[in-house]
Amino acid sequence: MSSTTPSATRGAGPAGTEGVHEFTATGGDWDQISAEAERLGDERIVVNMGPQHPSTHGVLRVVLEIEGETVTEARAGIGFLHTGIEKNMEFRTWTQGVTFCTRMDYVAPLFQEAGYCLAVEKLLDITDDVPERATLIRVLMMELNRVASHMVAIGSGGNELGATTMMTIAFRDREEIMRIFEAVTGLRMNHAYIRPGGVAQDLAPGTTQMVRDAIPKIRNGIAELEKITLANPIFIGRQQGVGYLPLAGAIALGAAGPILRAAGLPFDLRRTQPYCGYETYDFEIVTETGADAYARMVVRFREMRESLKIVQQVLDRLEAQDRQGKHPVMVADKKIAWPAQLAVGTDGQGNSLEHIKEIMGTSMEALIHHFKLVTEGFRVPAGQVYQQIEHPKGILGVHLVSDGGTRPYRAHFRDPSFNNLQTLGIMCEGGTIADVVVALASIDPVLGGVDR
């Protein structure tokens, strides 16, 4: 390609780009392309940023119409990571659905699990039967996951600006959380740990101490990141006043999460529509007034500290429970409760020998429940439900429709990244191309969630 003069063709591209000449850049041929563009003298130049561009936060395609360095129009092209998760969930049992929806926003997998399970529990009308300990564990995991997700937002956002150190520090401390997840759920991401009716298994022995040991390290990492960024003139220069979206615009476009709170509205579902007992924890709803990329970063920094505050409170409660003995982590109703009792032995992890003894040796009823739940799952009364939770990126909505069967008739997720991404155009238009990267990083979309 580099030996031939780039050929400009009349493009039949996406809406809005008809009639514009089309170039394919293969790297290293910029001189030829710009010479050709100059010769043609088109008034409009439309540039595709992504879907493989390293700074588009995944596989997002941003269609930019530019005038010199200024962006006159920006549109997000999505769908490159479409996996059909929602459709697939219609062909899986309610329990199996967890293993699918956890993969949507893979940076914050536990939130999809929690949102989905809360929704299923609402449909089953067992919300109040979920054991206290299961709820505590859910909160613990979610808040740790919130920190991990914000770490990725800040770290990879910095990396996209060329500040690799931000990423290495953020990922170093996120690793502490990943270790906790691995110790508890057996996986670093996509855990399928939260299940309808509770959680898959109790915390691993020593988890609370492990989390306590990790908190100072994570705090330290947050402090270091703040030192590197928040007062740094270059960082401020790149971030302040960039990706500006005031409150009215954010509300009109349905944006939530850090975008909304950075515009000054203390909107957080943990406070406005508490679930999982969030009303009993002491934490602040963080707001800033800058409404720009910088304010969003500050909100994330401060939210991480708030999450750690909640984590500490949960740990206290979990340890108080530990002192009382064993507590269930799954609903008591044998027709719904997932029947497994895992134990680690020299032969690996599998159902505990006591559980085997019970279902195979002594209780015919337990065996029947086990077989039924495992093969076809439980039935969920017909109806529909909408459950919202506060995801690190905004509002996660789960809309489930049941026709009374063992599988969802329809499962729909309102992913926060998807709605937040709508703000990209208004944030970028009028700014420079370089600011698109900053604005995008401040939205922090995860394309697995956007495309589902």
Binding site: R92, Q96, T99, F100, E175, R179, E182, G186, L187, N190, A192, A200, A204, P216, R219, I222, A223, E224, E226, K227, I228, T229, L230, A231, N232, P233, I236, G237, Q240, G241, A262, T289, G290, A291, D292, Y294, A295, V298, F301, R302, E306, K309, P339, A340, L342, V344, D347, G348, Q349, G350, N351, S352, L353, I356, K357, G361, L367, H370, F371, V374
Partner: protein, 253 residues
């Protein structure tokens, strides 16, 4: 722009660019001496720290120089996983060498990724592989499909299927990544007698499920010796059975 940023308390900035932000934020900071969110006092800065804030990043870099490196040197140094880690599957055996898998297909049913294929076969008096009537004749796990969710081990009613901590699963072809029963079966520990052979006389499958079988019996050893005199596990199993028999006699006395 840079000037405006200078001297601000880092965690307190974020007011619009063109506002006389300095005075405003300062006043706010004074009203609330210690920010409420600041649990560990990181933003409680004195004048010098505030003056140095724009270059505080260099301090982080310098101090990092003297900290231990966190990079893991995989594959030269393996750190291992946590015990619950979802790694490669394993099909287990009872202490006498019979397979635990009864071919019930629950693992295959529950698998959300359709990664498991099981075909069960009938145990016959001449070829008994597992306690009870059925055993897993064909057992495959397709690691190109498996998402390591562990639902299968949760479904298995006999603890035949477990997950080990082995995560080094890579291959160069599709066929290689579909693990067959021979690969998945746990190796015979010393003292186990290779299947097929009958169950221990006087027991039924429930005794196996209750984990009451502790090793091969002399009758089982004889059965195998008669039919497969070259079986490699025979000698060790015979010794184990002998020891067990003596222990029982000793215990009875």
């Amino acid at each position: 722009m840079a000037d405006q940023g200078k001297g601000r308390s880092p965690a307190r900035t974020g007011t619009g660019k063109n506002v006389p932000a300095k005075t405003k934020t300062k006043a706010k900071a004074k009203a609330k001496a210690k920010p409420d969110f600041d649990v560990d006092g990181d933003s409680d800065k004195n004048a010098v720290q505030e003056f140095l804030a724009p270059v505080a990043g260099f301090g982080v870099t310098m101090s990092t120089l003297f900290r231990p490196v966190v990079t893991e040197q995989y594959p030269f140094e393996k750190k291992g996983t946590y015990p619950r880690y979802h790694g490669r599957h394993q099909l287990n055996r009872y202490a006498d060498g019979l397979e635990k898998c009864i071919g019930c297909e629950l693992c295959a049913w529950v698998c959300p990724a359709d990664a498991i294929y099981v075909e069960s076969g009938n145990n016959t008096p001449g070829a008994q592989y597992s306690p009870g009537e059925r055993y897993g004749k064909v057992y495959q796990i397709n690691y190109l499909r498996c998402i390591f969710c562990a639902l299968c081990i949760e479904a298995c009613p006999t603890r035949a299927l477990t997950m080990t901590n082995d995560f080094e699963l890579a291959g160069t072809s599709r066929a290689e990544m579909i693990f067959e029963k021979e690969t998945l079966l746990a190796p015979l520990r010393s003292g186990m007698l290779a299947a097929p052979h009958p169950m221990i006389e006087g027991t039924d499958d429930d005794d196996y499920y209750r984990n009451e079988v502790t090793g091969p019996s002399l009758d089982q050893v004889d059965w195998v010796r008669e039919r497969r005199p070259d079986d490699e596990t025979l000698e060790a199993a015979a010794a184990a059975a002998q020891r067990a028999a003596q222990a029982t006699v000793g215990g009875a006395e």
